[in-house]
């Protein structure tokens, strides 16, 4: 009898628990409504398409639904928000586009070569929005900051000038080949251990090609890795304005930085002219900014095609994607070279590191804000 009572009570308790869970679930029903608005808004695209980009930015900013990943990727967004007189606040966007998909972010950050592809296409991992989404391009808005470059420490560059030049030369050769043969490059990256699906990899290669061969104004660039003075200066100016550092020493150093403090064009110039001797250090490593994918296809191609071997270098490509910035990894000699965004390099130098950009791979910003039409 007693046992029976106990069992009954137990079942009752469990039912209550399950009930609690269920009610917890029912609160999620609100999003079902959210889902239906997704289809509504996409079906009534004709009506909202009249909205101008500036209206979109203002509306999203005031609703607090502009997204960015932060962590040093946000300065262009801050500049854009300032341009339209909005508060410089944004939502921390996850590395997937779920927030965009479920409308918790209406103006989401996306790299043309990565997230934008996932949003538009319907291959694995994609959301399949196709042409129902539109973009706001940072280059067109005049707030573009340069992204992927090659850098090392000043000390390393001074000690191993020939290694640096050889590395630039071979890497740029890799980029050239990759941009000429994006599909083959995508295959090379996939075989090098990338876990990005091959469809997406191919998309990425074609988009990265555009960034490497077009400048911020839309002109074609033929010299791979060239450091465009004007774009660099714009990046530095925006960085000074929007990188906010709590450390007053670093903040004041940031304001004093000039282009000469952060980049040295001579290595690239010599590399382009094939004017360098035997490398001082033959075994080097390069730290990528992110996970292995076509964003970095030039280096993978240079390695696979033997360009590094040709200049007498044995190169180890270290993938990124963790919390340790590539700037730190290069600064403490964990690796010799790094790929980072110019803004990250600027804040690192302001913080007291002695890093030097030696080549600028991406000639324009790949960051866009994507919205549902």
């Amino acid at each position: 009898m007693k046992n029976l009572r106990k069992t009954m009570a137990f079942i009752a308790a469990m039912t209550m628990l399950t009930g609690a869970f269920a009610s917890c679930g029912s609160s999620e029903n609100s999003s079902e409504a959210g889902k239906s608005t997704v289809s509504e808004s996409s079906s009534s695209s004709g009506q909202t398409a009249e909205m101008s980009d500036s209206d979109r930015i203002v509306a999203a900013a005031q609703a607090g639904k502009v997204g960015n990943w932060g962590l040093g990727n946000e300065y262009e967004i801050l500049a854009l928000l300032t341009k339209y007189g909005q508060k410089t606040e944004y939502l921390s966007q996850a590395f997937d586009m779920d927030g965009f998909d479920d409308d918790s972010i209406t103006l989401a950050s996306a790299m043309t070569y990565n997230e934008l592809g996932l949003v538009k296409n319907d291959y694995e991992g994609g959301y399949g929005y196709g042409d129902t989404v539109g973009i706001i391009d940072m280059n067109n808005e005049g707030v573009a900051m340069l992204e992927d470059n090659l850098f090392c420490t000043k000390e390393f560059a001074e000690k191993n000038p020939n290694t640096v030049k050889a590395f630039i030369s071979a890497s740029m050769k890799g980029w050239e080949y990759a941009c000429e043969n994006p599909e083959e490059a995508a295959q090379i990256v996939f075989e090098a251990g990338s876990s990005v699906s091959s469809d997406h990899q191919a998309y990425m290669a074609s988009e990265v090609k555009k960034l490497v061969e077009t400048d911020t104004k839309g002109n074609t660039v033929n010299e791979y890795g060239k450091m465009d003075e004007e774009a660099m200066q714009q990046t530095l100016d925006l960085a000074k304005e929007y990188i906010s550092l709590d450390d007053s020493t670093a903040a004041s150093k940031l304001q004093t930085l000039t282009l000469d403090d952060i980049r040295d064009t001579s290595y690239w110039e010599d590399a382009s002219a094939d004017d360098f001797g035997d490398p001082e250090k033959t075994s080097v490593s390069v730290q990528l900014k992110w996970l292995p994918q076509c964003q970095f296809m030039g280096y993978y191609v240079a390695k696979a095609k033997g360009y590094y071997d040709e200049v007498g270098l044995d190169v180890d490509i270290v993938s990124g994607g963790g919390d340790i910035g590539e700037t730190t990894a290069v600064n403490n000699s964990t690796v010799d070279f790094g790929v980072t965004w110019v803004s990250n390099l600027i804040s690192a130098d302001a913080g007291g590191m002695d890093l030097l950009e030696i080549a600028q791979v991406y000639q324009r910003s790949g960051l866009v804000l994507v919205y549902k039409k």
């Binding site: 469990m14 399950t18 869970f21 269920a22 679930g25 999620e28 029903n29 999003s31 079902e32 889902k35 590395f95 997937d96 779920d98 998909d101 479920d102 996932l118 694995e124 991992g125 959301y127 996939f190 075989e191 090098a192 251990g193 990338s194 876990s195 990005v196 990528l288 996970l291 292995p292 994918q293 270290v318 993938s319 990124g320 994607g321 963790g322 919390d323 340790i324 730190t328 990894a329 403490n332 000699s333 964990t334």
Partner: protein, 271 residues
């Protein structure tokens, strides 16, 4: 106590019931999520989906299936966790030993020992990495630091738990310090030592996975964060969540089994 003496079969049965219930709740949620989300696998996939992802022979990257990737990365992570664990155990035990040998050492280091558990080691992980300059090394060091605290405090508690009579007995034998430690103190603290080991085994694994996420390379955490960041199917993330949970629980029980093997005299249920 009476209730603990239940037959093994019924205890087994209860665990099964619980697991089945958990699975049911999970699946209930998963169905719910499936109805309202476009990418349910990002929120909560069906267990069958997770199992499928492990058993399917689809290659995730150029050469490996999900299972192969998890196993290969797990080897790296668990090796690092293991090395860190052993270093942590050794240094934790030694510190406890020195603390019990010398009052000065004890008084000096005890507040700092307390501090170690209050420092967000995981927040400091990037800095430790920056200092060592080697990600593998810092992964080991952090696993060691997290292991260190429970082992040191529990071992010290073990040393302190030795009855006064046992000290007096050794005193009456005019035993020297070495004999006191080898014959009395160390054997007496073994159960406490194992308590520390059992607490820190899952911690070392957790730490190792967490520190993996700091940088690329090989390791469960790297894989986990890559999957989370959309570099590969999200199912790999779920595979790792479940795998790490199972490994963490297993590590606890493995330490328990080792304890029972090493201490045949121990009755069950103490501490």
């Amino acid at each position: 106590m009476k209730k603990l003496k239940k037959l093994l079969t019924s205890k087994f049965f209860i665990t099964i019931v619980w697991v089945v219930m958990l699975i049911a709740v999970w699946e209930l949620f998963a169905f719910h999520v499936e109805n309202i989300k476009r990418t349910p696998e990002n929120v909560q996939p069906h267990l069958s989906g997770i199992v499928d992802s492990l058993t399917s022979d689809r290659k995730i990257n150029g050469s490996q299936t999900a299972l192969q990737m998890v196993i290969e990365n797990a080897k790296a992570t668990l090796t690092r966790a293991g090395i860190g664990y052993i270093i942590g155990i050794a240094s934790g035990f030694l510190l406890a030993l020195f603390m019990s040998l010398s009052k000065i050492v004890e008084k000096t280091s005890f507040p700092y020992l307390m501090l170690i558990q209050l420092i967000p080691i995981l927040g400091m992980a990037p800095i430790i990495n920056a200092i060592t300059g080697d990600i593998a090394k810092s992964r080991i060091i952090i696993a060691a630091i997290l292991t260190f605290y429970p082992v040191a405090t529990n071992t010290l508690a073990g040393f302190k738990s030795v009855q006064r009579e046992k000290h007096e007995l050794m005193y009456s034998y005019a035993a020297n310090k070495f004999q006191i430690y080898t014959k009395t103190m160390i054997p007496a603290c073994i159960p406490y030592f194992f308590t520390g080991l059992k607490i820190s085994a899952p911690m070392a694994i957790t730490a190792s996975i967490l520190v993996d996420t700091l940088q690329g390379g090989i390791g469960l955490g790297c894989l986990l964060s890559q999957s989370l960041k959309g570099a590969m199917t999200r199912y790999v993330f779920w595979d790792i969540v479940f795998f790490s949970a199972v490994i963490g629980i297993l590590s606890f029980y493995i330490m328990g089994i080792i304890e029972i093997m090493m201490c045949p005299y121990r009755r069950t249920g103490k501490r």
